[in-house]
């Protein structure tokens, strides 16, 4: 296999891949209306592309295009060297397309509605690789009524591969023709010809200037068809621009170029559609961004509310704080006399705690109880809620029904403006929203309880330094030591001297009572110490939580849809890049022009939209 063949195959593969990519894109499920619209468009285009691919190997269909009287038929006659399509002085002359082909050309392979054409077969070298089609004009009909020249032309043009656009000094700026070309030129190669060189002035420069904004115009031929015909008939090779035009038709449209030209046409079609879709989606994106902003601000509002409520509740739940703090301190302190007392105190508390777990009335208290227990509890709570639809509970961190209703109301408006699928918001009925709110709340509380754990850890660590421990141990032991000293001294020393002085029960009772009081005083002092800075910690916690980001809001479906719409646009941009790269890779004969699809024109229609018929 030769290198050029390999290259050719490579090109074909890339085009196939591109088409596969586009059809993939068109099949993505989406909730965004503009995207759905574009997907339908691309699907339609791809189905048309399929029929184009069938003709890949057939000869190129080269059609004339131009205003009436610009010498389309004369040009065709001159090209084939004999009068085969009438060329005349009455307007319009040609009222039915005339197809001129080589006798050996298999016309059926062109996939054309042959019954609509006059068909002529002529044996001439120029027709070996192409089929010529002499078209009716676009500018005598005032509307595309059935059977009119315009209607016939519009039916034929999409099937053509190359257009020879003829014009004259009088007609090169005729609005009707220019408009029609804008429609016809998509997906075609163009050859530009100024006819009537015998009579008219050369206006090619001005014409090029007029065409430049929308078309690539590599060259404009200035021909005299009548002279060329007579030269041909005399067996001469036509001179001047006409000769070059024939060269271009035979070399640049030869069989080796067919696939390239058709690919290029196909890619132009794809590019036109993709640019259109890009601009459609691009127009829709701002509304999606608005929706995203609204969703985001909703989330912020949610977090602010929840953290505010959390702060209030944490501040009022002193007992729970104490218990958690004591528990943590006990673990850090290790075994010592004072810690035994603390442990005893905590143990008593836990006795109640086992019940108070069920008594934790609010979610914040629950968060305090600890992440692990809490989440389990919350899970069962949510389940319970689902079953009983007892949803007043979510009000506890600020997500009440009113707020949910309000957010739904507002988000629905944004989603509507962004053309999101209505189902996305509507299924989010209030019940559904409540469930979602419960999930959001659960997630929030889970984060919160982690932070609370950190606070407790920090506070307890800070208050179990060796110096603190020593101080409390010494203070505690001072009393115990004093009592022991008194008892020992009494027992071993005093009572030996005077048995009656042995300590009585009331001493032990007193000592016991004072011991309890002393322990309590120390515990209270210690607790105060523990709680010092707690408020500040809660404040920080609340602020931290307030700026934290919820990974999921109340409308996860919409969140997803927004992300998807951005992605789909990005994918389309990528496809558009690929198309442009591919288009540049296909090298064509240098005389062939075409429609310009400017990358800068991403948000404008690729071709100037014709301004209808002014007199209509």
């Amino acid at each position: 296999m030769s290198n050029s063949e390999l290259e050719q195959l490579q090109l074909l593969t890339e085009v196939d891949e591109l088409i596969a990519r586009m059809s993939n894109w068109a099949d993505q499920p989406t909730a965004w209306d503009p995207q759905r619209h574009c997907q339908t468009l691309i699907k339609r285009l791809l189905s048309r592309v399929e029929t184009l691919r069938i003709r890949l190997e057939a000869p190129l269909l080269v059609a004339t295009f131009g205003g009436t009287g610009t010498g389309k038929s004369a040009l065709v006659n001159a090209l084939v060297g004999q009068v085969c399509t009438p060329s005349g002085h009455e307007r319009p002359t040609t009222t039915q397309p005339v197809l001129i082909a080589h006798p050996q050309t298999e016309l059926s392979s062109l996939n054309l509605p042959l019954e609509n054409f006059h068909i002529k077969t002529i044996e001439t070298p120029i027709l070996r690789d192409i089929v010529l089609l002499d078209c009716p004009d676009p500018d005598t009909s005032e509307g595309a009524t059935a059977g009119s020249n315009l209607a016939q032309l519009q039916a034929v043009l999409p099937m053509c591969d190359v257009l020879i656009y003829t014009s004259t000094q009088q007609k090169y700026r005729s609005a009707r023709v220019v408009d029609e070309l804008g429609q016809a030129a998509a997906g075609c190669r163009l050859l530009f010809v100024q006819t009537r060189a015998d009579l008219d002035t050369d206006i090619r420069d001005d014409w090029k200037k007029q065409l430049a904004p929308h078309y690539e115009v590599p060259e404009v031929f200035f021909v005299d068809s009548l002279r060329a015909l007579s030269e041909q008939q005399q067996g001469l090779r036509p001179s001047g621009d006409f000769g070059r035009l024939i060269d271009v038709l035979t070399t640049q449209l030869g069989s080796s170029q067919r696939i390239r030209i058709r690919r290029a046409n196909l890619i132009d079609l794809l590019q036109g559609a993709v640019e259109h879709c890009r601009s459609t989606l691009g127009d829709g994106i701002p509304a999606v961004r608005d929706l995203e902003t609204a969703l985001e601000s909703q989330r912020t509002q949610l977090v602010e509310r929840m953290s505010g409520r959390l702060k209030d509740e944490l501040k009022t739940s002193r007992h729970l704080w104490e218990r958690r703090l004591l528990g943590a301190v006990n673990e850090l302190w290790g075994f010592s006399p004072f810690s035994s007392i603390l442990r005893l105190y905590h143990g008593l508390g836990s006795l109640i705690a086992s019940m108070s777990l069920y008594r934790a009335r609010t979610s914040a208290q629950m968060a305090l109880l600890g992440a692990v227990q809490g989440v389990r509890w919350l899970g069962s709570r949510i389940k319970e809620r689902d079953v009983e639809q007892q949803l007043g509970q979510i009000g506890q961190v600020g997500l009440d029904d009113n707020m949910l209703q309000e957010s739904q109301l507002v988000i629905e408006g944004y989603a509507h403006s962004a053309h999101m699928d209505r189902a996305l918001v509507e299924t989010d009925s209030l019940d559904h929203l409540r469930e979602q709110a419960a999930k959001v709340e659960g997630q929030f509380l889970f984060d919160a309880s982690r932070k609370i754990d950190d606070i407790i850890d920090d506070l307890s660590r800070r208050n179990t330094g060796w110096f603190t421990r020593l101080r409390y141990e010494v203070l505690f032991l001072a009393f115990v030591g004093y009592v022991l000293y008194r008892v020992g001294n009494n027992f071993f020393v005093v009572s030996f001297q005077d048995e009656s002085k042995i300590l009585q029960t009331h001493f032990y009772v007193n000592a016991g009572v004072i011991f309890v009081i002393w322990s309590l005083v120390l515990i209270i002092l210690f607790m105060r110490r523990l709680r010092r800075g707690l408020d500040r910690h809660i404040e920080t916690l609340a602020t931290e939580m307030a700026v934290s980001r919820l990974s999921k809001g109340l409308f996860p479906g919409l969140d997803r849809a927004c992300v998807q719409s951005h992605q789909s646009l990005d994918q389309l941009e990528a496809v558009s890049m690929a198309i442009r790269r591919l288009r540049d890779a296909i090298t064509l004969g240098k005389s062939l022009g075409g429609v310009q699809v400017e990358p800068s024109a991403a948000h404008k229609p690729a071709v100037a939209v014709p301004q209808g018929n002014r007199h209509a």
Binding site: S174, V178, Q405, G413
Partner: protein, 642 residues
């Protein structure tokens, strides 16, 4: 005849004035503006300036781009008054030859309305591209004293501004010199342009330019036939000019006159008179008065033409305002929201309020005694209340709970209204849709919610309740013998069923829900756009209260009082719903319903009727002075032979 002229001129001025008034009042209808409508432009550019006794003719050279209009114009002028160029779409602005002394009698700016007049300085000025519509004039002795000759931009190039300027000149013109070529005589843009000229009854002079003589001698009758058949034109003169660039440049192009009759296309009269004619001379021989009358009449016919003229505009307004009427109907035919769970004021609050009112009614000794007991009671109850607050937390005041419940219902109602509006919007009414889309955006929704919340938070519900109860009880006291029993039984009243309310939109007065609502709402409320209907007498309420409660007592006894008490609740709820309805209307719909209604009433407006009257006048005038009636050529500005 001159009286007919001045009469017609007066009507035209009236018409113009009243049309301007009408346009101002219909700007909300969304119809295309008057300017740009062919008949209106004709009124403006032809009838208003030219309905004068002093007849002059406006002659314009018109045709497609790059077929030698300016060349022919220069031949008329006898000099290079307009620049020519081999490139298409060259002439951007009209150039006008004005006979000396013409401007003493006429104002050019009145004749060529819409153009900025500039005195001619050089021929290239007309090629300059400016957004402003300019008209270059120069004094020329070439033409007779009552003839204006113009060169115009093209009618078919890709510069639509050229077409517009050519159209403006066409409307003013009386004689059009139609330049045609082999390539362009059958172009759609050309045919459309000249069809209009034919409709306006312009005198047409056809010049086939750039002919390949003598070959084309056999073709031009065919071309002409097609052209006249397609456009309906009957030319005054026909000329053939050869394709001779050099002669054209040197202003010595020959124009050969040809005669032709539409019936028989073969009568080309070849070469018999191959004497070059002067176009200007031939034109000067036309009957100016006849042509003037003819073109004015033609334009007038276009103005009052049923299909394309003023009647079609009026018809369009009618249709459009019908659309508005149907939009208005669509919006009002649907109940915006039905609320069946309007919260009820807690009984405790209601009863407390009733007691307050009652104590205010007591006077003299009895009041003092009750005051004393009340103070004692409050004193005794204080420790209990204090203890309860400590234990169970401070109970929220009942009206705060109510306020909160009410807010949920308000939100729900607003949600329903939005859903309903969305549904109406989806029906796709072309007028309602864009308006409703604007209401349904997220920003607007959150604005509405914020507005309502602010209103709702600032309203004093306690005061509302107080006022409502005072009003209702006063009524009750005046009519009921069992008044005192009511207070005795007050505490026994059971739970009260919620009244069912619906908010509907009525633009015009009473509607189907009116009867039920009438007992609670004053007359003024009925006028309002929003409408609240309350239904408390329905079976649902009875069921909720309990059949037994009513049947087990005598009709004047507990059941009656119970109903009375419910009545209080319902009245309060209805009052609140009315409040809501008013605010929703204010912040959500604004004056949309009135706007729709006003637009729907346009055909009844004075401006509309006035235009209609003038149209009738014009129609009568047209009949009276129809071409076949006695009026003919005795117009000033005689038969003109120079």
């Amino acid at each position: 005849m001159s009286t007919a002229f001045s009469q017609c001129a007066q009507i035209a001025r009236d018409l113009h004035e009243s049309l301007r008034q009408l346009e101002k009042s219909v700007k909300d209808l969304g119809c295309a503006p008057l300017s740009g409508r062919e008949w209106y432009e004709l009124l403006l550019q032809k009838l208003l300036p030219q309905l004068t006794d002093d007849a002059f003719l406006v002659t314009a050279v018109v045709g497609g781009t790059n077929i030698g209009k300016s060349v022919i114009f220069n031949h008329l002028a006898g000099e290079r008054a307009s620049a020519t160029s081999p490139l298409a779409s060259g002439t951007k602005h009209p150039v006008c030859l004005v006979p000396p002394g013409f401007q003493d009698k006429h104002s050019l700016s009145a004749i060529f309305q819409g153009f900025v007049l500039e005195s001619w300085s050089k021929s290239e000025a007309a090629l300059e591209e400016t957004p402003q519509d300019r008209l270059f004039w120069r004094t020329s002795t070439a033409a007779p004293s009552n003839l204006l000759v113009l060169d115009t931009p093209d009618i078919d190039s890709d510069a639509p501004i050229n077409w517009r300027r050519a159209d403006m000149i066409r409307r003013s013109a009386d004689v059009l010199i139609a330049v045609l070529t082999q390539q362009k005589y059958n172009d759609s843009a050309v045919k459309q342009f000249f069809r209009k000229a034919a409709d306006e009854d312009k005198a047409i002079v056809i010049v086939f330019n750039q002919c390949l003589l003598p070959d084309d001698e056999q073709y031009w009758p065919v071309w002409l036939n097609t052209f006249c058949r397609e456009t309906g034109i009957v030319p005054e003169y026909i000329y053939v000019a050869p394709n001779d660039r050099q002669a054209a440049e040197q202003n010595r192009l020959p124009f050969y006159e040809r005669s032709w009759s539409p019936d028989d296309s073969s009568t080309a009269s070849p070469s018999s008179t191959d004497r070059s004619h002067s176009l200007l001379e031939d034109i000067s021989r036309l009957h100016f008065g006849d042509i003037k009358l003819r073109t004015l009449r033609g334009s007038l016919r276009q103005v009052i033409d049923a299909e394309q003229g003023l009647p079609s505009y009026l018809q369009e307004l009618n249709t459009q305002s019908d659309e508005f009427a149907s939009a208005s109907q669509l919006l009002t035919a649907h109940k915006l929201a039905e609320i069946d769970n309007w919260p009820i004021v807690p009984n405790s609050a209601m009863i407390a309020e009733i007691r307050t009112w009652w104590s205010e009614q007591r006077t003299g000794w009895s009041a003092k005694v009750h005051e004393f007991y009340n103070s004692v009671g409050t004193g005794l109850a204080w420790p209990y209340r204090f203890a309860r607050e400590k234990l169970a937390g401070k109970a929220a005041p009942p009206m705060d709970i109510y306020r909160n419940q009410e807010w949920s219902v308000i939100l729900e109602t607003v949600d329903k209204i939005f859903k309903q509006l969305h549904w109406i919007c989806e029906l796709g009414h072309p007028l309602l849709r864009p308006r409703l889309e604007k209401l349904l955006t997220g920003t607007n929704r959150s604005d509405v919610v914020h507005y309502l919340r602010k209103q709702h938070e600032t309203i004093d519900l306690q005061q509302e309740l107080h006022d409502r109860i005072a009003a209702e009880l006063k009524l009750f006291r005046d009519e009921s013998p069992d008044f005192y029993l009511f207070f005795k039984r007050l505490d026994e009243t059971a739970a009260v069923a919620r009244p069912a309310l619906s908010i509907a939109l009525f633009v015009t007065g009473f509607g189907p829900a009116g009867d039920a609502a009438a007992q609670f709402l004053g007359h003024s409320a009925m006028q309002s756009v929003f409408h609240v209907a309350t239904d408390v007498a329905g079976g649902a309420v009875t069921a909720a209260v309990g059949e037994t409660a009513i049947s087990s007592t005598t009709s004047s006894g507990f059941g009656y009082l119970e109903a009375r008490f419910r009545g209080l609740h319902a009245a309060f709820a209805a009052g609140r719903a009315q409040w809501l309805a008013e605010h929703i209307q204010k912040c959500l719909l604004g004056n949309l319903p009135e706007e729709l209604q006003t637009a729907a009433d346009i055909p009844k407006s004075a401006e509309f009727v006035r235009v209609q009257e003038i149209l009738d006048q014009l129609n009568r005038f047209q009949l009276e002075y129809a071409p076949d009636s006695a009026v003919t050529a005795d117009v000033p500005g005689e038969h003109n032979e120079s």
